[in-house]
Amino acid sequence: MDRQQEFVLRTLEERDIRFVRLWFTDVLGYLKSVAIAPAELEGAFSEGIGFDGSAIEGFARVYESDMVIKPDPGTFQVLPWENDGGQHYSARMFCEINMPDGSPSWADPRHVLRRALSRAAEAGFTCYVHPEIEFYLLKNLPSDGTPPEPADSGGYFDQSSHDAAPHFRRNAIETLESMGISVEFSHHEGAPGQQEIDLRYADALTMADNIMTFRYVVKEVALTQGVRASFMPKPFTQHPGSAMHTHFSLFEGDRNAFHDPSDPYELSATGKAFVAGVLRHAREITAVTNQWVNSYKRLVVGGEAPTTVCWGHANRSALVRVPMYSPGRSSSRRVEIRSLDSACNPYLAFAAVLGAGLTGVQKGYELAEPAGDDVWSLTEIERRAMGYDTLPQNLTEALGVMEHSELVAEILGEHVFDFFLRNKRAEWDAYRRNVTPYELATYLPVL
């Protein structure tokens, strides 16, 4: 029994916690939970808890489905929900998924990210991540295909008192902070009902856990306010989608490996090669960073989302942005990847971006010139003339590129790679069969 395990057991005792939720994430990024009584936890630490892996998307096939979840005591957190007596009654831990012999399951997205991080560690790097998570607050979540109704009609940075959910942001942030997730920044986004909350940077694995927690907390808090939260990448045709712009930095020990004060952008050779890696492999990893059919409705010209593979400095239309707002603060030098959306699987998406960037570092890719123009304003032919690649325009194109990517296979591991392709192909097929309101509106009257 190690120290953290004892800490967890003692806390359960002292705070009279009745349920322990064991959390893990399936390959598609859905949060899964098993609740156990505190008395079972000691056994769970030493031997894990067996479960049927075939019931979870992407884990195992029916006849060989025994798997074991093992809680990671370092992720222990009392959940802020209270019972009638004002007492906290449950806690959660993230889990590792193991095979019956104790070796890690290669189907576990957390293991995918762990492997990516250990590859970085072998090269001497730790990876820090800082996401800006956008989402919508809605009055309802209709499942019959009718458009939802935003919870408010505010605009960018509006400090308005809304009819619905006046205390939402405050409550959400307080709840996150009480769970040890630091919020750096939050504001109302451009569209009605759209919010943005930025989390304070953390190492990539912790941050992926935090994002899973974040989505859960935000949805729960919204419910208490009588509204609904959605991380769907693009719920409204007429409003911008929900991005998860994510800042990455690599550290060598205490030193920010992306920082070089002598460079005009204060971006080191390592940082440049990282960006070059992300750009060169951008098309390959898009299916992972933007994994849903709906994700590609966000990545369109004219929205505030990247569509071309290029980088820029203050250029908000670029796929990668190297922000410059903290001159001389070496520890904050980072690069912002703007394609990710709020509904990605953060474990896989971080692993993919990190893997692409690290490949650039290890192979010493050259970084092309930054895109100075607003690339949205260029014509298609101009873009091509300037040598900018276009990001995949829909899920099937992204899958086609990914399928031929040895890099993504390497990053995800063959098991997840194979499952992901099959599952997403099926998703595309299911989508393709549908006649959309757009088609009806456009064709029915005229054809």
Binding site: M1, R3, E64, S103, P104, E414, H415, D418
Partner: protein, 1021 residues
Amino acid sequence: MRLDRAVAQRRDGRSLARLGLTEPWAAATLATLGWWDGDRPVREAEAVMWALARSPDPNLALRTMERLAESCGPAWPELDAALRSDGGLRGRLIALLGSSTALGDHLVVHPDRWRSLASDRALTPARLPDLERRTAVLLAAVGADPGALPSGSPGGARAGLAPAEAIVALRQGYRDALLEIAAADLATVGEPDLPVLPIEQVAAQLSDLACAALRAALAVAVRQVLPEGDGEPPVRFAVIAMGKCGGTELNYVSDVDVIFVAEPADATTTKLATALMRVAGEACFPVDANLRPEGRQGALVRTLDSHVGYYRRWARTWEFQALLKARPVAGDPKLGAAYVDAVNPMVWNAADRDDFVAEVRAMRRRVEEHVRPDHTDRELKLGRGGLRDVEFAVQLLQLVHGRTDPDIRSGTTLEALAALGDGGYVGRDDAANLAASYRFLRLLEHRLQLERLRRTHLLPHESDTAALRWLARAAKMRPDGRRDAVGVLLAEWRDNARRVRRLHEKLFYRPLLETVSKIAGADLRMTDKSASRRLAALGWASPEGALGHLRALTGGVSRAAAIQRTLLPVLLDQLADTPDPDRGLLAYRRVSEALAHTPWYLRLLRDEGSVAQRLMAVLGTSALVPDLLVRAPEVLRLLADTGAGSELATRDPAEVSASLRAAVGRHGDPTAAVVAARSLRRHELLRVACADLLGLLSPPEVCAALSEVWSAVLRSALDAVLRARAASGPVSARLAVIGMGRLGGAELGYGSDADVLFVCEPVEGAGEHDAVRWSTSVAEQVRGLLSAPSPDPPLEVDADLRPEGRSGPLVRTLDSYRAYYAQWSEVWEAQALLRARPLAGDPGLAARFVQLIDPVRYPLGGLSQPTVTEIRRIKARVDAERLPRGADRATHTKLGHGGLADVEWTVQLLQLQHAGDVPELRTTSTLDGLREAHQAGLLDAGDADALAAGWTMATRARNAVTLVRGKPADQLPRSGRELAGVARAMGYPPGGDPGEFVDEYRRVTRRARAVVERVFYGSAP
């Protein structure tokens, strides 16, 4: 002219070069010093010259001496005179100057310090200062009152000097003392008559010096941090030494590990600790406090209660291992003693912790992983057999057994080792030998560190002769007549490294054997319980079972038991590294029992260490090998040599086949002949299995060898039956056996069946009907003989690929085949014929058969489009339907994606399409087919490589699964020891995640599958 003079000088025996003074300036310098006159030493300075010659680096010694003389100025004559008259000074000073540039520089800056090396004052084995004396000297240096209470206790000593000056003074005092210790250590190198200061005492002196320095640094810190006077709050502060300093076995240059205890633990005492670390760090050595509770993240200073609370609740196993060496060295003595009293009992209960075994193993692996691969041979400290390993092994045994035995709890490695020997936990001789090796390694470490006072543990590279010569001389190695000093050093180093490398065997395993075998003479033994505990700690899942096997192997007074007792410690060490040590030990017991009466068996294992080692690797991995081995023990001898040209690795399959047929040919009776053939096959199968597991054969070599031996057995069996028939009655037909499938392609695995066709032809005067009947009975007899029950892997002859399959006749005439193929043949039959290759029987008939089928399998002009589509459809159906229930398409070697069938069908389709026009494509081998298809421009290089890689991976994996499980299987195991075994058999390192192997398997086969989809199925890229 110059040459002549050099020769003359050498002859007279006194040239400077012969004294090792090879630099051109040597003569002039010596003349200035007044020690050399023209071509010989000045008379009274002869002894000085000899001492110079003995110095590890005479040139360095001379150069530094010159600087020293210069720095002495007018005082030089006094030193010069002392050198000529005082042998002790001479030995110490000159050896020191030739050993350490750093300490030489110290002397040059402080020339009067030579006096402390003169015989009337110098430190010698008979005159060693104690800790109190050392403390007094260094306290005085920083202006503290040596008579006061210890600093860190209320009213304790305070430095008189301000920190900056105190640091300078302390540095001086520390270096002076270091100089004295090093001089005493080296004295005997300069003057062989001087007494030797044993390494333990050097280490103890260095530890004392470090303690004294910590005390003086604390006095400085107290002055800096604690206000003086009556109003001072009572502060108690103690420094606990850990690591080498705690164990009283410090080396010259090392971090000193400490832990701080204070009452109260507040900002003031934290400042005290920080100041102490800074002062000691600047003046003497880095102080490392990272062994404290919670390491780097933890509070620097804790109260005693907080320490105890931490260790009681949170500490991990390795922390107790570190605490084993804890010793209070500075500060408040009562507080220090209370700390050790409180912590000690917990150390000795650490072995009862649940995670003890796992943590200890992980720790050992971490230590070994630490070494850079290019340094493994030269590392004195880390790596297998290094100093750290000895220390670690000793501590581990202390933790395992020290709980019940207080006598083995010393924090000093050499003392603990001796105590373990005295207590019977380690053989007494082993303990003594290991101690000697440990001393030797420490000596080299000390010498290397002295040179520049740098922390190094790396022996010079073997090509760096100058550095090696210096080290050899500093370590007092002398040429032994055959080798020079460097040669002697390297030989000793290798001997010691070898000895220490067998450390685990000696420390961990040999005592186990003494426990189970209860032999007379070993009066000191561990109990069974201790032995069990130890086996579990070393990785046996069922230690009681293992003890039972050990008992069975070594019980009794037979010679075999005695040999087993000496062998098993080595074998156990090797088994512990295999995927399944429990099964390996059981297999070894079975083999040993089966071969109990084979006289050379144990002798071979005893005399050929590598045989034993390889045998353990094989037994701990494969379930197929033990069964074969008990019935083909002679193969063990082959394990002795695994070199490039060894029989194990390179036996020519054709030769095997020839000798097999010759041997079998001597038997008249078919049954006896088949028994003989079987036995030779068993031998060959085992040889191939062993060579494969040891990584000596490539997959094609394995396939070729397995196929050839099968063919030879088949040929011999057919020959024997035909001979018997010819002797007993009329022969009515010629008969030939055609190999099909994997046998035809010479691609058999360990578990493959042999696919064949039988073809016959009536002899002159015989009717077709008789010929077929006679041939059928011959074929039936051959099959019957081969498939007779036996403990060996079966020899099933499968003729299902014949026309009309199982419902068709077993044997057909050539004409019948011709008629069949002309009329009925389906495309899958043509495809099957691609692998047809004559194996046995009448060669003329076989050749006519090949002639007959060539147009069928290599159709001129290739295949029509509908036929191609037909083949694709059949394959698609096979893909969908043939995979057994429960199999995983991703990891099924035969029918899975990118597996054997995928690649083979692709090659075969290309052959059917093009071999009619491209004769090079006409091969039964998959890999040859791929190569030729690429040559012919039908496949690009990348595709051919991807297919070959997939096929090779699947073939290897399938063989590995069969080797590990002991029976044929096509599906990779999903997890557990079997999967770990397969990964090991595939050459993956021990202890890794077998998921790595599965991921690699899936990657390679995925690439192959992508090519199959494109090339075979014709899908768009």
